[in-house]
C-alpha cells in the first residue's frame, strides 16, 4: 500500500514533466535534423511507424546535420550568437554596477527599514515584464522624456537617438533584471559580520580599503549568483531587443522567433534553439556549482 502510494506520488509529476518537457525537447532535436519542406507540417522526413523497422531505418538515414552546417556557414547566425553574448555580458556588468550599491545600502540600512526596502525591490518583479519594458519606450524615444529633459537642461542641443539602439537594450535589461542582481548580493551582505570591518578599520584600513579587502571578497558568492541570474535569461531575451532594440540589434532569441514565425523554417529555428541551449549549458553548470558551494559553506 505505502509502496503504491509512493509510486503514484512520484509517477504523477514525473510523467507530466517527461511528456511536456522532455518529449517536446526531443522533438526539437529531431526537427533540427530534418529538412524544410513545403507541406504541413513544413519539414521532412515524417516518422511513420506503420512502415515498421525498415521504415524507421529509412527515416533515420534521412536525418542529417545540414541545418547546423547552414548555421555555421551563414555569418548572420554566428554574428547573432556573438552579439547576444556581447549584449548579455555588457548588461550583466552594468546591472552589477547599478545593483551593488543598492544592495549595499539595503544591507546597511536601519533594521526597521529593511522589510520595506525589500518589498520595494520585489514589487517591480511582480509587475508585468512587458509593461516595464514598454515604460521605457515613452522615455527613450526621439520626443521622449529623457530627450525633453536633456534639451531643457541644455546638455544636448538636438534630441539623441536612443530608442531602437543597443543602448536602449542595455537600459531595458538592467532595468528589468535589477532585482535578480540586488537580492542575492543583499542576502550575502546582510549576513556579513560588521565586526570584521571594524577590525579592519581598527588595524588601520581606510573605509575604502576595508571595503575592498573585507566586504567585496565576502560578498563574492552573491555577486556571482546575481551575475548568472542576469546573464542566463538575458542571453535568450526576446521582448527587450524586439521592443527597444533596432533593426541592427541582432539577438538570438529574436532570430529564432523570426525564423519560426516569419520564415516558417522550423528545422532552422530548431537548430538555432539547440545551439542556444549548448551556449547556455556552460554558464548553467557554473551557476549550479556556485550554488552548491554556497549551500555547503552555509552548513
Amino acid at each position: 500500500m505505502t509502496k503504491l502510494r509512493r509510486f503514484i506520488l512520484i509517477f504523477v509529476p514525473y510523467s507530466w514533466l517527461v511528456i511536456l518537457f522532455l518529449v517536446p525537447f526531443g522533438i526539437v532535436l529531431k526537427i533540427s535534423l530534418s529538412d524544410i519542406a513545403i507541406a504541413r507540417p513544413p519539414y521532412t522526413p515524417i516518422l511513420d511507424l506503420s512502415t515498421g523497422w525498415a521504415g524507421f531505418k529509412e527515416y533515420l538515414s534521412q536525418l542529417d546535420f545540414e541545418n547546423f552546417v547552414f548555421l555555421a556557414e551563414d555569418r548572420l547566425y554566428f554574428l547573432a550568437y556573438l552579439s547576444s553574448l556581447k549584449i548579455a555580458l555588457i548588461s550583466t556588468v552594468l546591472t552589477l554596477i547599478v545593483g551593488y550599491p543598492i544592495a549595499y545600502g539595503m544591507a546597511k540600512a536601519p533594521n526597521h527599514w529593511r522589510p520595506t526596502l525589500m518589498m520595494l525591490v520585489i514589487l517591480p518583479f511582480w509587475t508585468s515584464f512587458l509593461i516595464r519594458v514598454y515604460a521605457w519606450m515613452g522615455i527613450l524615444s526621439q520626443e521622449g522624456f529623457l530627450n525633453q529633459f536633456l534639451l531643457w537642461t541644455g546638455l544636448t542641443s538636438a534630441p539623441l537617438t536612443i530608442l531602437n539602439t543597443d543602448i536602449a537594450v542595455y537600459i531595458g535589461i538592467v532595468y528589468t533584471y535589477l532585482p535578480f542582481m540586488i537580492l542575492p548580493i543583499y542576502a550575502t551582505l546582510e549576513k556579513l559580520d560588521d565586526s570584521l570591518i571594524e577590525a579592519a578599520e581598527d588595524l588601520g584600513c581606510s573605509r575604502l580599503s576595508a571595503f575592498w579587502l573585507v566586504t567585496a571578497p565576502l560578498s563574492k558568492p552573491g555577486v556571482i549568483a546575481g551575475c548568472f541570474l542576469v546573464f542566463i535569461p538575458a542571453l535568450g531575451e526576446f521582448v527587450i531587443p524586439s521592443l527597444l532594440g533596432g533593426s541592427d540589434t541582432i539577438m538570438i532569441g529574436k532570430v529564432l522567433w523570426d525564423e519560426f514565425f516569419s520564415n516558417r523554417d522550423w528545422p532552422v529555428a530548431s537548430a538555432v534553439a539547440i545551439i542556444l541551449l549548448l551556449l547556455l549549458v556552460i554558464p548553467i553548470i557554473l551557476f549550479q556549482r556556485n550554488e552548491q558551494k554556497n549551500r555547503e559553506a552555509n552548513q
Binding site: 522533438i27 546597511k108 540600512a109 514598454y134 515613452g138 526576446f238 542556444l276
Partner: protein, 271 residues
C-alpha cells in the same frame, strides 16, 4: 545595524529606487493625459480608461488571460507541491537525478525554446491550439517554480510533528492534510501567487502555444506596442500595476499576520 543611513547609502538607495519607480510613475501619470501624444501633457482626463473598457478585444483577451492564469496556477500548485514532496521526502528512486534536472531546467530555459518545443509537441500529437494548450504549457513551467518554493519550506519542516500524528493513529493522507499542509501553507500560497503572475505575464510561451481563437493580454499588448506608445496601453498598464501593488502588499501583510499568529500559538503551546 541600527542607527541612521549614511549619506552614501541614502544617495545610492534614492537613486536606485528613483530608477526602479520613475518609469512606471511616468507611465501612470500619462495614462491620465488628455492628448493622444503620450509625451506631451495636455490636461487631466480619464477618457483612455473609458475607451479601454469599450474595447471588446482587450476585454476578451483579459478574460482568456485570467482563465489561463487561474487554471494553470492551480494545476501547477498541486503538481509542484507533489513534486516538492517527492524531492524532499522520497529518498532515492530510479531516475531521481533526471527528475530534479527536469524540475530545475525550465527555470533557466530561455522562453523561446520552451515555447518552440511545446508548440512542436502539440503539433506532433495533433492537438488543437488554444486556451487549453497555453494552460498545459504554463502549468509545466510554473510547477517547477512552485516546487522550488515549496521544497525549501518542506526541507526546514520539523518531521517529528508528522510522525506524532502518525503515531496517534492518523493515516498518512490525514497527517498530510491536517499537519503538513497547514504548516507549508504560506509557501504553497506564495507558490500559487507566483505561478499566477508568471502566467499573467507570459508573452513568449503563450505566443508559441496559442491558436487563432485565444489571444492573451500580453500578446495583445505586444502587438499594440510594437507600433509605438499608446495611451490606452498606458491606462491598461496602470490598472495592472495597481492590481499587482494591492495584491503584493495585502499578501505580505497577510503572511506577516499569519506568521505572527503561529509564533503566538507556538509560544502558548510551549507553556
Amino acid at each position: 545595524m541600527t542607527g541612521r543611513f549614511s549619506w552614501f547609502n541614502a544617495t545610492s538607495l534614492t537613486f536606485g529606487f528613483v530608477f526602479l519607480y520613475l518609469p512606471m510613475l511616468i507611465l501612470i501619470i500619462f495614462s491620465f493625459n488628455e492628448s493622444r501624444l503620450v509625451t506631451v501633457w495636455a490636461g487631466f482626463s480619464t477618457k483612455w480608461y473609458g475607451e479601454l473598457f469599450q474595447n471588446e478585444a482587450f476585454l476578451d483577451a483579459a478574460w482568456v488571460t485570467l482563465k489561463v492564469a487561474f487554471w494553470s496556477s492551480t494545476f501547477a500548485t498541486v503538481l509542484g507541491t507533489i513534486a516538492a514532496y517527492v524531492m524532499v521526502r522520497s529518498g532515492r528512486f530510479l531516475g531521481r537525478t533526471l527528475f530534479s534536472g527536469m524540475i530545475y531546467a525550465p527555470l533557466v530555459m530561455p522562453e523561446v525554446i520552451t515555447g518552440l518545443s511545446l508548440l512542436l509537441f502539440f503539433i506532433a500529437i495533433g492537438m488543437d491550439r488554444g486556451a487549453t494548450t497555453i494552460i498545459l504549457a504554463h502549468t509545466t513551467f510554473s510547477m517547477c517554480y512552485v516546487s522550488v518554493v515549496v521544497s525549501s519550506r518542506l526541507a526546514s519542516f520539523d518531521r517529528s510533528l508528522e510522525e506524532a500524528a502518525l503515531d496517534l493513529g492518523c493515516t498518512p493522507f490525514d497527517a498530510f492534510f491536517s499537519v503538513t499542509l497547514p504548516i507549508i501553507a504560506p509557501a504553497v500560497i506564495s507558490g500559487w501567487l507566483l505561478a499566477f503572475t508568471l502566467s499573467l505575464d507570459d508573452l513568449v510561451i503563450a505566443s508559441f502555444t496559442t491558436g487563432p481563437s485565444s489571444t492573451t493580454l500580453p500578446i495583445k499588448i505586444f502587438s499594440a506596442v510594437r507600433l509605438g506608445v499608446s495611451p490606452e496601453i498606458n491606462a491598461l498598464s496602470t490598472i495592472m500595476i495597481g492590481l499587482v501593488t494591492i495584491g503584493v502588499i495585502s499578501a505580505s501583510l497577510a503572511s506577516r499576520g499569519l506568521i505572527a499568529r503561529r509564533e503566538k500559538e507556538e509560544r502558548l503551546a510551549q507553556k
